[in-house]
Symmetry: C2
Subunit: 188 residues, 2 copies
Amino acid sequence: MARPSLVSDEELVEGLAGVFKAEGFEGASLAALSEASGLQRASLYHRFPGGKEQMAEEVLRSTEAFMQKHIISMLEGDAPVQQRVQDLVKGLRAFYDGGRRNCLLNKLAASGGKQHRLNKQIAAMMQRLTVALGKLAVDAGLKKDAAHARAERTVMLLEGSLVMCRGLGTTTPFESMLRQLPAELLGK
Amino acid sequence: MARPSLVSDEELVEGLAGVFKAEGFEGASLAALSEASGLQRASLYHRFPGGKEQMAEEVLRSTEAFMQKHIISMLEGDAPVQQRVQDLVKGLRAFYDGGRRNCLLNKLAASGGKQHRLNKQIAAMMQRLTVALGKLAVDAGLKKDAAHARAERTVMLLEGSLVMCRGLGTTTPFESMLRQLPAELLGK
DNA sequence: GTCTATAGGAAGATAGAC
DNA sequence: GTCTATCTTCCTATAGAC
């Protein structure tokens, strides 16, 4: 059952992810996806018969798995609260390359009624992250409602800081957000 | 010098703005822009010889003027601080249609080196808003540095809440953000 | 100033050889 | 499984009549 591919599934999806994050769904041309992945258009269609939409789905799925493995499970783990917050900050800084990378969820979220599948995945990921952050806040001693509010605001700050980085052309908002994150999430 | 146009400049730019906010720059097709503005493609090119990029520029310019007139000048005015914050909340709710509309700055901000002009405009608008918010925080008694930090975080929350609304398919994050805004901006 | 018609190219997607 | 070559559709942009 082995599939001796010239480009591993990991490399492939990672390349595609970079394009989707940088260009968004509409902006990600097959030419760019082909170049970034190292495969010709036709080869991409062989692996993703559903075309660009399936590519985006797989990229989301892969990102979700990464988030689950490196962020969510850590947040819901039983390490000391302070340790988990520090790991979160480190993890986010690495994942978003210090504010230089866009958030995939922002760039793939569509306004219109199209891309039902993608929107469902995106909503699920946002909710999962919020819940996990809330869990940490609860472990830090906050009441359920307050913890949820903190978690929601933390996601807002994360997404918003990345929007500001793109808009202003600097990474300072992201770093500023990371500095404030522990106090924001756990109370001040 | 009068130009008896069938579609006023205001209506025109407003129609275009709606498409750019909903679809982003790449996603905004000339067909959609034509339909939303009530003008045929060729007529759009008559008014905007620079094509789609010029349309986006004019939309940004118009939005900037609106922001200046309805938000910035109000924030920098001399009404009581509490009054200004309330006006801000009302203004934002109207402008973003309660969280149903995207932020133009987010949807038009490009990652790559393209669209120099647009990126400059976007950066200027974000900075101007941040500065005006900071002014209000200073008037509320905060020190300059603290006020700037509050202002920056307020913009993050605004942008981030809209991203969450799009991702989750609800407007609750936006409303939640508006409720917390006065305390967030002026201190708690 | 607006339109119909169309040029010219890039987009997403497929066919078939290797 | 990957490629080159191609199809079709949609896109941006222009030409020229009214």
